[in-house]
């Protein structure tokens, strides 16, 4: 069966980028937007077709096989290290294909309305195209190097989009922060790749995931601090993933990234790019699972769980609606990491499937939340929840869709979030009770903070608005509705048949107990939020005052940013860079100048010899002659 047409899925967005980029400025109004949207539309169509063909229309018995749909040699370093660019189709890449293209398409559509009044619209859509291309290249990569390349490219496009309002200092700062933090992580990522591939002898995923082959080809692997080189490689790679997926402690860039236009946040910082880390771990899952009995995987689980709790706590205190969503994203990604972390392979592969499932559903409802938030911001021209209230009267569509999303994320059946999250918790329960407990609590917190913003925005007392808020135009509402439907129904998809750790159907049994538990905690959260925020009251204020310093700490995100600020400013710049610069200018360069100056000084010291008195000269000659005689005598004897 011929899959080579799939090359067009990434190429079309690239096309839109190139055209929008080259004819930047000469492009008629709106043109760029529709260009990008239609390009994405086509690739979306193509990827749905691909998914359909792959899952339903391919005669296969047993597991779904991996398909390399197309590839070309990019750089033939050595026969071992040949870097290919290619398209690699397997269940997760196809799932990501669906997610990326669909969300990107909807965001394009939405942006046409959202950015209608913006000056640099063309630039915006060009970057959007670039991002979609890079993200698709990333998910379709057949080898680590391609992954890394597009990994960098999404980083850059995210940088450019966050810095879209480049004359706004905060936006610039956020953009730089995002790029540099992720770049820092990528440094380790690259080292990890090099280290790992030195032993695996190849960049291709199938070779990398084939741990037994590596072990027997290398004989004994060097062990450092009780871990094999492979595990170290995987841990380094995971640092890269953690950087992109804003796992603690590399999460600091994500909240600031909300400086970008809201659709961008929806696309990059909710649905697609930030889950790249999860995707990476899933890609290398066999390796993670096999090396040192899945030690690296435990790290993943711990980091994920901690981040999810950490973020959820912070999210409860933020007043900026987008920041709340940002932290919630971080928390949800934590869930996914946990899912992978607790998973086994084959029949124990529940966590894997669950995590992928959650990735899928989360993309839907989190994108919806952001776009909804976008609609609100568009209406009231402010990010702050203080400026919102009882908007349900003015913007019904936004209200309904937002509510659906909130229910979904809080894990209330029958909405999508319920199924995926519940599966993760089940997997955790089987693996490790502590992790399960944390996840369970986090679920409650999630429900609470989501409904906190829901009630604050759509209920509460009416605020005075500059001009009456209203639902946005069709291009913006349509995506909301589509996504709402998705996040309502996606839960019923039979994911366990499609996306599993070993590509075979995973038999799951619905566990009523844990389901009930998670629903319960969700409801509790919602109810608390209802009591506190349904009708405006002083109680939240009082409570936060009573909590005092604790509350402040949380509100300030546990001062992590301040810590990093200190490290970079005080240590790296003041203690390292400045001394080096000084050393270079004064010591190294000084030495060079010193040599020159000394020469000149010597010459002015000895100038006295040439006194001008010929009798002195004569004396000098005499001395010279005698000196020569003595010297020679000394030699002759």
């Amino acid at each position: 069966m011929n899959w080579s047409y799939t090359i067009w899925i990434p190429l079309l967005p690239l096309l839109s980028f190139v055209i929008n980029g080259l004819f930047y400025g000469r492009m008629p109004k709106k043109m760029s937007g529709w260009l990008g949207t239609s390009a994405l539309g086509i690739s979306t169509l193509l990827s749905w077709v691909t998914a359909w063909k792959y899952f339903f229309n391919t005669p296969h018995q047993g597991p779904y096989e991996d398909i390399t749909a197309w590839h070309t040699t990019w750089m033939h370093l050595t026969d071992r290290f040949t870097i290919d660019l290619g398209i690699y189709l397997d269940p997760i890449s196809i799932m990501m294909l669906i997610v990326v293209t669909t969300v990107s398409f909807l965001v394009h559509l939405y942006s046409i309305g959202y950015m209608a009044t913006e000056e640099g619209r063309n630039r915006y859509f060009a970057w959007l195209g670039l991002f979609s291309f890079s993200m698709l290249g990333l998910v379709l990569a057949p080898n680590l190097i391609q992954t890394y390349m597009f990994w960098e490219l999404v980083g850059v496009s995210s940088f450019l989009l966050i810095g879209y309002y480049y004359d706004k200092p905060s936006a610039v700062k956020a953009a730089l922060k995002a790029f540099i933090v992720t770049r820092f992580a990528d440094g380790f990522f690259l080292i990890g790749i090099l280290l790992y591939s030195y032993y695996s002898g190849s960049f291709l995923f199938e070779d990398i995931n084939n741990i037994p082959a590596i072990l027997e080809s290398n004989g004994s692997l060097p062990v450092f601090m009780g871990l094999s080189a492979l595990t170290w490689g995987l841990l380094l790679i995971f640092i890269g993933g953690a950087g992109k997926s804003a796992m603690f402690p590399l999460h600091i860039w994500l909240p600031d990234a909300m400086e970008g236009p809201t659709p961008v946040s929806a696309l990059i910082h909710a649905a697609t790019m930030v889950v790249a880390g999860v995707y990476l771990v899933a890609r290398l899952f066999p390796a993670f699972h096999a090396s040192d009995h899945g030690f690296a995987l435990q790290i993943v689980a711990i980091v994920g769980t901690f981040s999810s709790l950490f973020a959820a706590i912070i999210a409860m205190t933020q007043m900026d609606i987008k920041r709340v969503l940002a932290f919630s994203t971080m928390s949800q990604i934590g869930y996914m990491m946990t899912g992978l972390g607790v998973s086994g392979i084959g029949e124990e592969g529940l966590g894997y499937t669950a995590s992928m499932f959650h990735l899928f559903t989360h993309a839907a409802f989190k994108a919806l939340l952001f776009l909804g938030a976008g609609a609100l911001i568009h209406a009231v021209h402010s990010n702050s929840l203080k400026d919102m209230g009882s908007l349900r009267k003015y913007m019904p569509i936004s209200h309904i869709t937002f509510l659906i999303a909130c229910l979904a994320i809080s894990g209330i059946p029958p909405f999508a979030g319920f199924f995926s999250k519940d599966l993760i918790l089940e997997a955790a329960f089987e693996k490790n009770k502590l992790i399960y407990a944390v996840g369970w609590i986090t679920a409650g917190l999630t429900a609470f903070y989501m409904f906190r913003i829901y009630f604050m925005a759509f209920w509460g007392e009416d605020k005075v608005y500059a001009h009456k808020p209203h639902d946005p135009g069709i291009t913006m509402t349509l995506p909301l509705i589509v996504l709402a439907i998705a996040s309502a129904l996606a839960g019923w998809l039979p994911f366990n048949e499609w996306v599993t750790s070993n590509h075979e159907t995973l038999h799951t049994h619905f566990n009523i107990g844990s389901a009930a538990a998670s629903v319960a905690i969700g409801l509790v959260g919602i109810i608390i939020a209802y009591i506190l925020y349904k009708n405006p009251s002083m109680t939240p204020q009082k409570m936060s005052n009573r909590l005092g310093v604790v509350y402040q700490t949380v509100k300030n995100k546990f001062y992590v940013d301040e810590f990093y600020e200190g490290v970079t400013q005080q240590v790296i710049l003041k203690r390292i860079a400045t001394p080096i610069a000084w050393f270079d200018r004064h010591i190294v360069d000084g030495t060079m100048n010193l040599i020159g100056n000394t020469t000149v000084r010597i010459s002015s010291i000895i100038k006295g010899i040439q006194s001008g008195d010929f009798q002195v000269y004569a004396f000098g000659i005499l001395i010279a002659v005698i000196g020569l005689l003595v010297w020679l005598n000394y030699f002759i004897q």
């Binding site: 010459s603 000895i606 000269y617 000659i621 010279a624 020569l628 005689l629 002759i636």
Partner: protein
């Protein structure tokens, strides 16, 4: 030995003698007001003489070996002639305006040619008597030339310093020769050192003797006179001193060491080694902070002498031929520099480096000549100086003098610094009161063009080097 031989072998000497007599006669006949007519005559005659001197002659001895010559010596004399000819071109304007009116042009030329003939005899001397005569004849008149500006105290001072110190040097040298004579009992070069072992007395003699020559080549620490004299003397004389007499002295040193005193080589190699290190280093260090162009060039030429010694140390054919080659290049290079100094002095009477500031803007051609000359001295390709230096180093390295070469190349770097100083003044800087545009006379132009052509061609044109090498090989058989 027939009378015909004496003519063919000594043709340079004869022809210069004829020119000498002709000039003398005409000077006596001409009255002082028409003296300037002497100048074209002198230059014309000498030009013919120079061209003639390039034809290879034949090798042989005269006067029982007191005089000997061969193609290499002919070629050396030709080099000297070329140098003098260029100097004549460049000094034309000066002689015409400064000397001729006072009826002293003739004297100038006569002295100059006398010195030159002295150098001929010096180079092709076959024994120490002839050597001594040639040596003095090529020194004493120069003192007179140096003091030629009767009204200038500096000129006179330079003359006195030269005559007295030269006297001292020759005294030392004579004493050295006498000591060697005491050992060998023989003054002929041909069989000078036969059946004599190296007695201490002989070595003492050698040292004193070499000191005399070192004085003439102005090797540190026998160089003290050079800068003062160069600065005081008229530019024509300075260039003569720094080029011609230095060249002659180097030639005779080369001949003596390689063909007469090879048995003592380990002794004189030790001496030359230390002298060369001192000369390069001290010369450079002094040149660093000179502001007067003549004095600056004086020290630069001292430093250059240090490099030449590398070639002599290398000895054998390659070394010797490289030295001759380097001298040839050095003649053109140095005379180019002095020519520009002369031209500017003639027009404006200025010879300080600061006066050269922004020269390029007003006199691009002159300053380009100067730049080329300086780059050639500094050994920058594709100027000839690069090749000369490179081959010297190559020859020295061939004998394993790596340390010496290292010292030399470091000195080259130092020298580059001060050679760039005039370039900086002329090109990089602009002055609010630059020298006016100078229209130098045709003679000066010919002189400068000759030099530039030499600088650009001599290096690249390899057959020349092969030719010199072949001559040297013949000689050393």
């Amino acid at each position: 030995m027939t009378w015909i031989d004496t003519i063919t072998l000594m043709r340079n000497e004869w022809s210069i003698l004829i020119i000498f007599l002709l000039l003398l006669a005409t000077e006596i006949l001409l009255d002082d007001r028409r003296q300037h007519q002497l100048i074209p005559l002198a230059i014309g005659l000498f030009a013919v003489h120079t061209i003639g001197s390039f034809f290879p002659g034949k090798a042989g001895e005269l006067f029982g070996g007191m005089y000997r010559t061969n193609d290499l010596l002919h070629f050396m004399k030709a080099i000297l002639n070329t140098a003098v000819l260029i100097i004549l071109f460049q000094s034309y304007h000066w002689v015409k305006t400064e000397l001729a009116p006072h009826g002293r042009a003739g004297a100038f030329y006569l002295l100059l040619f006398a010195v030159l003939s002295g150098m001929y005899f010096l180079i092709s001397s076959g024994d120490f008597i002839m050597f001594f005569i040639g040596f003095e004849l090529s020194t004493l008149p120069v003192a007179a030339l140096t003091a030629f500006h009767l009204k200038e105290i500096r000129s006179t001072e330079a003359g006195i310093k030269l005559i007295l110190l030269a006297g001292l040097a020759s005294g030392i040298m004579l004493y050295g020769i006498s000591l060697m004579y005491a050992v060998t009992g023989n003054l002929y070069f041909a069989d000078f050192l036969v059946n004599t072992d190296h007695e201490t007395l002989l070595i003492f003699g050698l040292v004193l003797f070499l000191s005399g020559l070192a004085f003439k080549i102005s090797l540190v620490p026998f160089h003290f006179w050079a800068p003062d004299v160069y600065e005081g003397a008229p530019i024509a004389v300075t260039s003569f001193l720094s080029v011609v007499s230095k060249a002659a002295a180097v030639f005779i040193l080369l001949i003596l060491l390689l063909s007469v005193l090879p048995e003592l080589s380990e002794i004189w190699k030790m001496i030359l080694y230390i002298l060369s290190v001192l000369t390069m280093t001290v010369g450079n260090l002094f040149a660093l902070r000179q502001t007067n162009m003549k004095r600056f060039l004086a020290f630069s030429s001292i430093a250059q002498a240090g490099f030449i010694l590398l070639g002599i140390l290398a000895s054998e054919a390659v070394g010797a031929s490289t030295v001759v080659y380097f001298i040839l290049i050095y003649v053109f290079t140095n005379l180019a520099a002095f020519g520009v100094v002369q031209a500017i002095k003639d027009a404006t009477g200025k010879e300080e480096m600061v006066d050269y500031t922004g020269l390029y803007r007003t006199n691009p051609r002159l300053s380009l000549v100067m730049v080329l000359a300086l780059f050639s001295l500094a050994g920058i390709p594709p100027m000839a100086g690069f090749f000369g230096k490179f081959f010297l180093f190559l020859a020295a390295a061939g004998k394993g003098y790596y340390t010496l070469v290292l010292i030399a190349v470091i000195n080259v770097t130092i020298s580059l610094y001060y050679y760039l100083l005039p370039v900086r003044a002329m090109l990089l800087r602009t002055s609010d009161a630059p020298l006016a545009h100078i229209r130098s006379g045709s003679m000066m132009r010919i002189g400068l063009i000759l030099c530039v052509v030499g600088i650009l061609i001599l290096g690249m044109y390899s057959p020349l080097y092969d030719y010199i090498l072949s001559l040297t090989n013949e000689w050393l058989q």
